[in-house]
């Protein structure tokens, strides 16, 4: 392997690693706050990318119907609860958030041809279609069993994942697609050619990670999420309800997932089930961080990206094997390093 190939592979690895890092951070966040291992994270990657593909192809994305269906379901359930407790203003608020807003979005999509819009607006529309699915899924699937054990939550996660993947096949079909590249710029660095899209992915990921850091360190809502992760009872006594924290963390995770999908869609062909494998690699990163440490999870995810890219050169057939085998030594090392703590 010469220098040029090494640089090319490194660029590839870093680009993928940056995406895995974003997903790993979202997984750690969701687990720390709600104890949910968020397997459906990958579906948000696929939904984000494929929704943008549909918009650019001038089709109505299937995620719109999912948004309308879930919104109506929640409005029915929560609206009925609010009526029973005679909280009419709350009922009105629920209906307007879960029904009227998605309907307005649907109206917008019917009225204007999204394919002719500039790219940032298309991305914005795709995010508006996919991101609300995160908190909605939390409300329907996880909130009723928020106090359940990690295992039960994991089983529900598997169910949600399989369901969403099936829905993805129904909406987007079995064939893969790519979106139009965000930029055609490329730079030459020595011998290697830097692709504009790859640079964009890395830079955007770094910016997003910095924004997340700012959110957790400097804003009261970010601190509230960290507080919930540290001490659930303490947080509840401050009026930070588990529901609020869960909704917020799922919104962040869905945003990260959908945005990651949109970022890589011009350079990777995305199928309805591609998200799972991408999410799983983010999960390997999160495991390296012990599902607890954000910086280690991010670093682990970048390592996964690099390892994947270099092993695809030397042992392309074993690419996935090598990446997922990484978990074994990490788990071994973790189990040797941490001392078992007796429950109080």
């Amino acid at each position: 392997m010469d220098m040029q190939i090494a640089l090319l592979l490194g660029q590839d690895g870093l680009t993928n690693g940056a995406i895995y890092a974003l997903l790993a951070l979202a997984l750690v966040l969701v687990f720390a706050v709600t104890r949910v291992i968020f397997i459906p994270q990958g579906e948000f990657v696929a939904f984000g990318a494929l929704t943008l593909v549909s918009l650019q192809a001038g089709k109505l994305p299937g995620t719109l119907w999912l948004l309308l269906a879930l919104g109506t379901l929640i409005a029915l359930i929560d609206g009925a609860l609010a009526l029973r407790n005679r909280q009419f203003r709350r009922g009105l608020w629920i209906v307007s958030v879960y029904c009227v807003l998605p309907l307005l979005l649907a109206g917008t999509l019917f009225a204007i041809p999204a394919a002719t819009l500039p790219l940032p607006l298309q991305v914005g529309l795709a995010l508006m279609l996919v991101v609300p699915l995160g908190p909605m899924i939390y409300r329907l699937a996880y909130q009723p069993i928020a106090e359940a054990s990690v295992l039960v939550l994991l089983i529900v996660s598997v169910a949600v994942h399989v369901t969403l993947m099936g829905i993805g096949l129904l909406f987007f079909g079995a064939e893969g697609s790519r979106t139009l590249p965000f930029s055609d710029v490329s730079f030459s660095l020595g011998d290697a050619l830097l692709q504009g899209q790859a640079v964009l992915v890395v830079v955007t990921s770094v910016l997003l990670i910095m924004a997340l850091y700012f959110f957790f360190e400097r804003t009261i809502y970010g601190k509230a999420l960290r507080a919930t992760a540290m001490n659930r009872t303490g947080a509840r006594l401050m009026g930070i309800s588990g529901t609020l924290a869960g909704m917020l963390s799922f919104t962040l995770a869905a945003t990260i997932g959908a945005f990651s999908g949109i970022l890589i869609s011009p350079i990777t062909t995305i199928y309805y089930d591609s998200g799972f494998l991408i999410g799983l690699k983010g999960f390997v990163g999160a495991i390296i961080g012990g599902l607890a440490s954000y910086p280690v999870a991010a670093a682990g995810a970048i390592l996964v990206g690099l390892l994947e890219s270099y092993s695809s050169f030397w042992a392309s057939a074993f690419k996935e094997v090598i990446v997922f085998t990484l978990i074994i030594p990490v788990l071994l090392w973790r189990s040797l390093k941490t001392h078992h703590v007796e429950e109080e």
């Binding site: 407790n85 540290m230 009026g239």
Partner: protein, 252 residues
């Protein structure tokens, strides 16, 4: 920490009647009736396992209850929840403190005002200054992680964090637990100080003497039932209380 409306101190903040709590089939509390007025310290004393902590957890909404609770003149119904009660100014300082140990003292305090912030009150920085006035030690330690504080400082932080919510009713669960006598004295001095600010306080304590000395009114809780009640002065001299809870030292 609103200004004290001196004229009308007898406003009932909390009135509880025939309150029962059970864990499964086991009755933990039975037929409890008590009252807390504005600007008053009411204490519930009793031995280990009498149900003191259960009482506070039930009042704040962490446990389901049977019976009547009227808080701020409003009958509590099925829609009762911790979050709602916190919004209405009820705050619990739990026995285990439940601090956010990997956060700074200042962030812990800020989160105490989370619900006020969410409701649109952006005065948390002024409130922090007021809390620092009450607990100067917390000002010195403001950048330190909560997990590294001493026992007394942790109790001060737990109380300071609760005060950040500007409570109308403060529920204190064993503030003296595990603290050195001098620190206990300081904590109880602060509790008396809070009373002057017009906060209603329901104080649950095993340290009966210290609690009765700062309280206006007291109840004795034994195996889930209230066995005695009366003005603290009277309880301090009541032979039954002296016998069971104050010991010989009470006769000096």
């Amino acid at each position: 920490m609103s200004e004290l409306a001196g004229a009308d101190e007898r406003i009932v903040v909390l009135e509880v009647s025939s309150l029962s709590v059970s864990y499964g089939k086991v009755d933990a509390l039975h037929g409890i009736a008590l009252k807390v007025h504005r600007g008053e310290i009411v204490t519930v004393i009793g031995p280990n396992g009498a149900g003191k902590t259960t009482l506070l957890c039930a009042l704040i909404g962490l446990l389901p209850v049977r019976g009547d609770i009227v808080y701020l003149g409003e009958q509590q119904d099925g829609g009762r929840s911790v979050e709602k009660l916190v919004r209405q100014g009820m705050t619990l300082v739990p026995e285990k403190r439940e601090l956010f140990s990997e956060m700074s003292v200042k962030d812990n305090l800020l989160l105490g005002a989370f619900d006020r912030y969410r409701a649109g009150h952006r005065d948390q920085l002024e409130t922090i200054d007021q809390v620092f006035e009450i607990f100067p030690r917390l000002r010195e330690r403001r950048a330190q992680m909560a997990g590294t504080l001493s026992g007394g400082e942790r109790q001060m932080l737990a109380m300071g964090r609760a005060l950040m919510a500007k409570p109308r009713l403060l529920l204190l669960d064993e503030p003296s637990l595990g603290l050195a006598p001098l620190v206990i004295k300081e904590i109880f001095r602060t509790i008396t100080q809070l009373k002057k600010l017009g906060v209603a306080i329901l104080l649950v304590e095993q340290n009966a003497r210290a609690a009765l000395q700062v309280a206006d009114y007291g109840y004795v809780l034994e195996t889930g039932r209230l066995s005695l009640e009366g003005p603290s002065r009277d309880l301090l001299t009541d032979p039954r209380v002296i016998e069971s809870y104050l010991g010989l030292g009470g006769r000096h």
